[in-house]
């Protein structure tokens, strides 16, 4: 919205030459994107010519824009239809991520706990074996040919017998179903022992833990009554990392950024690099669970987070001069920007994955459209509950009106701001986040923190993409992700 925008003259639009595009002023240029995820940078002069249909048809720029579907009378329909299908292939799959909360008990008291976990005495929040069996049966009803069962909590290892049962029962069922089955354990690792690890390793379970940075920062965020959470996490991270080094199931760590993290961007990246991690996920805090009540102490504005993100990201680019080390949010966006593949990250796609890409199962068998929606249940709001494994059917669950409402709310074509945004082909909104922040699943993007963060990150990525050296780095990040995909097709 700078003064330079006055180069625009809607009257000059040639509706026969210029195909559909969205635009955004970025630095000295206009960024243009289209429905097929293609993008281009145009100077003011070229932008005016493009809009008016007066670009030289013999120019390299014209050829590039024609190839990428920006020139209406040179549109290759078959290629664009194929590209659109590829980018939206998740629409044909059904729920593939199944989050199973085997207990709400936890031995940590993290200051931002978004699950509102209970203390170790709360045994009434443990999932029973009978409920677990019904959960697995319901999971295998999914139409998706690929399934991921993800253990969440609480701390899942607190209810180890049920974790073990679900792994064994799911593997048994899959011998008949023949799906691509992945199992993830999300754990603080403090209750891991050799016997549990051996069972999980033998069953090819992926591990995911939380690591909020160096010890002082991590232990400030993640309070563990039994001692240093950081020490326990690092000990098992190193063991699992070493033993799964050449496996396609592995351990990864996730960062939650609090206000205390903001001045520590480089320290956090160094911590991950020092551990041998392949990358880091600079994840902003959500206003759910405990975080909601103490937001004034641990939260921040979108602009504060973006300052942190840019500092960390630029430092990561420096590190990439020596070794490949990715940032996960960037990798998700870059995969969408630089390929025709959608990485199917359920929180950043249109429509979002709630109910049509993922389902969450609470300890009592309650079924929720997504894990964030299940978290609202802990806040006394059953808005996102879509049934129970003890009643109804799979068909009733996935046809629930709540799922339809969320799909409509998260379809960016229905969003007043998103439908016109240049970043629409790469972005996604979370109706549960909108509900938490603004009290409305439809959301209002001009005042959405998440929207500002996404726009800020995408601005930064496109600025960096203009440098060919960075583009080569980004292609390596994407290649790593693709290698994982090809394995999962086997």
């Amino acid at each position: 919205m700078s003064a330079k925008a006055s180069v625009l003259d809607p009257e000059r639009l040639d509706p026969v030459r210029a195909g559909f595009f969205r635009f955004r002023r970025l630095g000295q240029k206009f960024l243009i994107t289209n429905d097929f995820g293609r993008y281009g940078f145009l100077s003011d002069e070229d932008f005016q010519k493009f809009v008016a249909g007066t670009l030289d048809p013999e120019s390299a720029l014209y050829a590039r824009l024609a190839r990428d579907g920006f020139i209406r009378d040179r549109m290759d329909f078959d290629a664009q239809i194929s590209g659109w299908r590829s980018r939206n292939s998740f629409l044909w799959q059904g729920p593939s991520l199944h989050v199973v909360v085997v207990t709400l008990r936890c031995n940590h008291r993290c200051i931002y706990c978004q699950s509102n976990a209970v203390t170790m005495g709360g045994r009434d929040t443990d999932m029973s074996r009978e409920t677990a069996e019904k959960v697995v049966d319901r999971i295998f009803d999914s139409t998706s040919p690929a399934l991921t069962i993800e253990f969440q909590g609480g701390e899942p290892l607190v209810n180890w017998p049920v974790v073990k049962f679900i792994v064994e029962y799911a593997r048994k069922k899959n011998r008949k179903a023949g799906k691509h089955l992945w199992i993830n354990l999300v754990s603080n690792l403090s209750l891991m022992d050799d016997a549990k690890f051996k069972f999980l390793f033998d069953n090819q379970v992926n591990f995911c833990t939380s690591l909020d940075g160096p010890a002082d920062l991590h232990d400030k965020n993640r309070v563990h009554a039994g001692g240093s959470s950081h020490a326990e996490t690092i000990r098992w991270f190193k063991t699992i990392y070493r033993k799964t080094l050449r496996k396609m199931f592995r351990i990864e760590a996730l960062l939650t950024v609090t206000r205390f993290s903001l001045p520590r961007a480089k320290d956090i990246v160094d911590e991950y690099v020092g551990l041998g991690a392949r990358g880091v996920y600079l994840r902003s805090l959500s206003p759910l669970g405990l975080a909601r009540g103490v937001w004034d102490k641990i939260g921040y504005t979108a602009e504060e987070f973006l300052d942190f993100y840019r500092t960390a990201f630029d430092y990561i680019l420096e590190i990439n001069k020596k070794k490949t080390f990715f940032e996960q949010t960037a990798r998700i966006f870059l995969t969408k920007i630089m390929t025709d593949t959608d990485p199917n990250f359920l929180d950043i796609r249109s429509p979002c994955g709630a109910g049509i890409g993922q389902i969450a199962y609470n300890f009592d068998g309650g079924v929720y459209a997504c894990d964030e929606g299940r978290m609202f249940s802990r806040m006394g709001d059953e808005m996102f509950r879509i049934g129970s494994v003890s009643e109804g059917s799979y068909a009733q669950t996935v046809s629930h009106p709540v799922i339809k409402a969320i799909a409509i709310a998260s379809c960016l074509d229905n969003q007043a701001d998103c439908s016109r945004c240049a970043y629409k082909p790469y972005c996604g909104i979370c109706p549960v986040h909108c509900y938490a922040e603004q009290g409305d699943i439809m959301g209002r993007m001009p005042s959405s923190t998440r929207c500002r963060i996404h726009k800020g990150i995408l601005d930064h990525l496109f600025e960096k993409l203009a440098d060919k050296k960075n583009e080569r780095i980004f292609r390596k990040w994407i290649k790593q992700a693709k290698e994982r995909i090809s394995y999962q097709r086997q």
């Binding site: 919205m1 700078s2 003064a3 925008a5 006055s6 625009l8 809607p10 639009l13 509706p15 026969v16 210029a18 559909f20 595009f21 429905d35 209406r72 009378d73 040179r74 549109m75 664009q80 239809i81 194929s82 590829s86 629409l91 593939s96 936890c106 940590h108 993290c110 706990c113 978004q114 976990a117 295998f140 009803d141 139409t143 040919p145 690929a146 969440q152 609480g154 008949k176 179903a177 023949g178 799906k179 691509h180 993830n184 999300v186 995911c208 833990t209 939650t256 994840r283 669970g289 199917n344 990250f345 359920l346 894990d371 964030e372 701001d417 016109r420 209002r444 005042s447 995909i485 999962q488």
Partner: protein, 199 residues
């Protein structure tokens, strides 16, 4: 015409110059900073906007300048959208229909249509592109869309044309019986990665 006071910015816009959709879209963009009221003056084309400062204090003079630029942005967006509406509907409809109508051949993947290994194909494609006539007129596209949509209605059960609510075993049977009839793993599928939800 613009009037600015300490708390309020009043604008008058000609809806004959700026479409009403563009005026509303531009106003929405500022909804994080100001309260907005839009009213049409009488039966004419003049539209009045009142932008009131929210707590925190927006610079109304700056917003006035930005708003006029945003009107241009939104007017251009509106025109682009109107001009390409049918083409976009056609592409999305065809992409969706080709996935579920048994008789429709699947669209070629980028790899299958790659011209990288076939210079002759690339030359032919370039020549064809240069000779390609103007895009089909909207009326023809509309007929094509209606035809595709009627194929969808014929091909699937009402309310669930993709069969997403049909349980796996009911749809495909046991592995030993009908493995060959099952869909292959989707081309872009990966185990969905979810962040740990900060226990």
């Amino acid at each position: 015409m613009t009037e600015t006071t300490a708390q309020e910015l009043k604008l008058k816009v000609d809806s004959g110059v700026y479409p009403m959709d563009a005026i509303q879209a531009a106003a929405y963009t500022f909804s994080d900073r100001v309260y907005i009221r839009i009213a049409r003056n009488g039966g004419g084309k003049e539209v009045s906007l009142s932008l009131k400062r929210k707590a925190g204090g927006a610079d109304l003079a700056a917003i006035s300048d930005e708003f006029h630029n945003e009107l241009l942005h939104e007017t251009l967006r509106h025109r682009i959208s109107q001009a390409n509406k049918k083409i976009r509907e056609f592409i999305v409809t065809k992409a969706l229909v080709s996935a579920q109508v048994p008789s429709a051949p699947p669209p070629a993947t980028p790899a299958e249509t790659s011209e990288a290994d076939c210079p002759e194909c690339a030359a032919e494609a370039a020549q064809a592109a240069s000779q390609q006539p103007a895009a089909p007129v909207d009326a023809e596209l509309e007929k094509e869309i209606e035809k595709l949509l009627s194929e969808i209605e014929k091909s699937g059960p009402g309310g669930d044309p993709l069969g997403v609510a049909v349980p796996w075993e009911k749809k495909f049977g046991a592995k030993s019986k009908s493995a060959a009839a099952r869909p292959a793993a989707p081309k872009t599928k990966r185990a969905p990665k979810k962040g740990k939800k900060s226990r």
